[in-house]
């Protein structure tokens, strides 16, 4: 019951006709052509009638106005009963959806032969659905998908393995499932086992394998199908560094041999480095496509904006709840703040166990705290950028004893930096009415992560006027995934016979 016919189903050229012998050769192609809508312009790989150059220009994957609508069943729970369906005489009705969810919405894309396309997007944006449609595992609700050539989909590795039988037998069965003949598998068997690094265990039942071994074997089989079109869904995390490296090498090898790869991943660096083109899906629609660097940057910016909004919302919530539970100035202050006020703002002591909150006498009040980076006010900043913390104060009565302090904490609660006006030998003279304090950081040399701010105004002896504990959150983004807390400004220099390939990206 193929309801979809590719738009080119009619113009099957002379090369589209195939003989019986070829049928056996190109089993996968036939499978895909019958399973999915990609019925039309499939060429037997063995056909030498078409010159290489023209095939290189043809599209390997063509997705035309494809939508995928998943059905949801509101009446019927997942485990519906036949009895209840029969009783309410709604057997047929119940098989119809009550609600739909559009996973892909009018997506059109073309991947020319030999290109590598990276698909990025947030969770639930439709990436995997797209991959399954191209693989032919599910059918589009509307639109057509055409794939030219043998497909191998690395969606779930070792999906067809049977735990009770040996790795060797599983390799054969899995290979046949993926479209190889027994002879082809026998020829590639050693290579597969070598690649999976499972020589000693290949005759043990698969149930005794660790999950890593299982995945490696699945990957090895899938990659040795030698497809023309390789679909990869976030499976590079299957092994140790060495194995991942090997996989990437294999992909690069595919690329060199002019195969088409479609890569769904959250690893933006990989897209940037490895793909010729990137596609950004958002909410089932194509949000952008083209040069990977541009798309990845746009995506990162979007993610930042999103985080920005999220952080702003969280901060607002935190401040609200803090304001609702204002602690009287004496008790918590004397309880948590030791004698030496200068130290307390920065040194990790008991008070740093305290979670977010706000306390103080409010003789001076912090009315607003704003973070401003190079792109204006916000919550997400790039490592190395300047950052201003603008604190707005109001003192209804003039005050002469005051210290303004600030502390930066990372997600683990480690104080990354803390200081105050007293530490830096600024002797207070007076403060009255509205005032603004700008704490200016020339270069935010922190590693990537989420940080929280303490902002406080208190007496020199520690008596708090207004203490905002961890009420302001910001995030530091960095393209380099270095570790630690502080990133010293640094460069690498090399003397002697040391060379590196040209850098893949500049370290921002």
């Amino acid at each position: 019951m193929t309801e979809y016919r590719g738009p080119r189903a009619e113009d099957r050229g002379p090369t589209g006709e195939r003989t019986h012998a070829e049928d056996r050769e190109s089993m996968i192609e036939d499978r895909t052509s019958n399973l999915g809508p990609r019925s039309s312009n499939m060429q037997p790989r063995t056909s030498g009638l078409e010159p290489r150059t023209s095939t290189a220009q043809r599209a390997a994957i063509e997705v035309l106005r494809v939508s995928k609508i998943y059905r949801r069943f509101a009446h019927r729970k997942q485990f519906a009963t036949l009895k209840s369906a029969l009783l309410s005489r709604s057997l047929i009705k119940n098989l119809k959806p009550d609600e739909t969810f559009t996973a892909l919405n009018d997506v059109t894309l073309t991947v020319p032969k030999g290109r590598t396309l990276g698909v990025i997007g947030r969770n639930g944006s439709g990436k995997s659905t797209l991959l399954k449609l191209i693989a032919g595992i599910t059918k589009p609700s509307s639109g057509t998908v055409q794939v030219d050539g043998r497909i191998s989909a690395l969606i779930e590795l070792g999906a067809g393995f049977h735990p009770e039988i040996s790795g060797r037998e599983n390799v054969f069965i899995n290979g046949i499932m993926l479209g190889l003949t027994k002879r082809e598998i026998a020829r590639r068997f050693d290579e597969i086992v070598e690649f999976a690094e499972l020589r000693e265990f290949i005759d043990a039942p698969v149930k005794t394998y660790s999950s890593g071994m299982y995945m490696r074997l699945g990957f090895a089989v899938a990659i040795h199908v030698d497809p023309d079109v390789l679909l990869v869904d976030e499976v590079l995390a299957v092994g140790d560094e060495g194995f991942t490296h090997k996989c990437l090498n294999k992909f690069a090898d595919f690329k060199r041999r002019g195969k088409t790869i479609l890569l769904v991943t959250h690893s933006l660096g990989l897209v940037d480095r490895f793909c010729d083109e990137a596609l950004w899906l958002d909410g089932g629609r194509i949000h952008g496509s083209g040069d990977p660097k541009r798309i990845v940057d746009a995506y990162i910016t979007d993610v930042q904006h999103r985080e920005e909004r999220e952080l702003a919302a969280n901060d607002a919530k935190a401040r609200q709840s803090a304001a609702a539970t204002i602690v009287s100035p004496d008790e918590p202050a004397s309880a948590v703040l030791p004698d030496s006020p200068v130290e307390t703002a920065i040194a990790p002591g008991d008070m740093f166990q305290a979670s977010e909150g706000r306390w103080g006498s409010r003789e001076v009040e912090i009315t607003e705290v704003m973070l401003t980076g190079s792109d204006g006010a916000g919550h997400v900043f790039r490592s190395g950028d300047p950052l201003d913390v603008r604190i707005t104060l109001r003192a209804p009565l003039p005050i002469t004893d005051f210290v303004i302090g600030i502390g930066v904490f990372n997600a683990q609660g480690v104080c990354c930096y803390g200081t105050n006006t007293a530490i830096e030998d600024l002797a207070p003279e007076y403060l009255s009415g509205d005032a603004q304090v700008i704490f200016s950081i020339a270069s935010l040399d922190l590693v990537e992560g989420t940080y929280k701010l303490d902002v406080a105004v208190h007496k020199i002896d520690g008596y708090p006027y207004d203490y905002h504990r961890l009420l302001y959150t910001f995030r530091v983004k960095s393209r380099a995934k270095d570790v630690g807390i502080y990133r010293p400004r640094h460069t690498w220099r090399f003397d002697g016979d040391v060379r590196f390939k040209s850098p893949e990206r500049d370290d921002e």
Partner: protein, 263 residues
């Protein structure tokens, strides 16, 4: 649908390997392993023989030697019943394949039915043993009909398996209904008693039971002396089975697209 049906021919290799895997995996790790294929029917045989020989000896008229009679119907029934039970769950347990690998789902019920048929073949030596032991009245023309009965049963079972596997994806309690239904069906089929000696009314009902004709055919070929008089029924059932298989395949094909989303 016909395209898809034709495509199945290309999957012979896969079906073969999957059946082999099924057979290998089933008894892997059990001590007696493959011998369970013999022990299971033998146990049943002992129980029924005991009941009908010593507890209520009047019931099975005209069925001497009883073990041979019963085996003629019991082995095909085991093939049928376990095919149905297994195929009702096969799409759900094979969900991984359907969701993650490009894979024509009908292969799974087909493999189930075929694997159970191989089990049936493997148990045939016991039957041969009993046939020789009791020096059953076999004739060559009748024995030539045996493969035909097997073929009809295969097609009929396949039709049932396709329908059950497809519907169970949507209605999971089919499995429980099925196990009860099969018990009922077993006693409604002349396996442990003889069709010839059943009351007329009961025989009329039995004529509506497709499996009764299969069981009677097996019995006439292997057990009862005289010519294979039931062949007309068998041919009719063969035609019905082909139609039934096509209906099953059509239904399966209709529901195919929902499998990847529902299992």
């Amino acid at each position: 649908m016909l395209d898809n049906l034709a495509r199945l021919a290309r999957y012979r290799g896969l079906i073969q390997s999957l059946v082999a895997r099924e057979l290998k995996a089933r008894y892997r790790g059990s001590v007696l392993g493959f011998f369970w294929s013999f022990i299971n029917p033998l146990t049943l045989l002992l129980i029924y023989t005991f009941v009908f020989k010593y507890v209520m000896p009047a019931a099975p008229q005209g069925t001497d030697p009883y073990p041979l009679f019963m085996f003629c119907g019991l082995l095909p029934w085991t093939w049928f019943a376990s095919s149905l039970m297994e195929s009702s769950g096969v799409l759900i347990s094979g969900g991984n394949l359907i969701k993650k690998v490009l894979f024509p789902a009908e292969i799974l019920p087909i493999v189930t039915v075929t694997a159970n048929m191989i089990h049936f073949f493997l148990a045939l030596p016991i039957l041969v043993f009993f046939l020789v032991w009791f020096s059953a009245p076999l004739t060559v023309p009748e024995l030539l009909c045996f493969p035909l009965v097997v073929a009809v049963q295969f097609i009929f079972t396949l039709g049932c398996a396709l329908i059950l596997s497809a519907l169970t994806v949507h209605f999971r309690d089919i499995r429980d209904i099925l196990s009860n239904l099969l018990t009922l069906w077993f006693f409604a089929t002349p396996i442990i008693y003889s069709y010839q000696y059943a009351p007329t009314l009961a025989r009329r009902f039995m004529n509506l039971n497709p499996f009764a004709h299969l069981a009677i055919s097996y019995q006439e070929i292997l057990f009862f002396p005289g010519p294979f008089g039931h062949w007309k029924w068998l041919v009719a059932l063969g035609a019905v089975s082909v139609a039934w298989f096509l209906v099953g395949y059509w239904l399966f094909d209709r529901l195919r697209d929902s499998f990847a989303e529902e299992v």
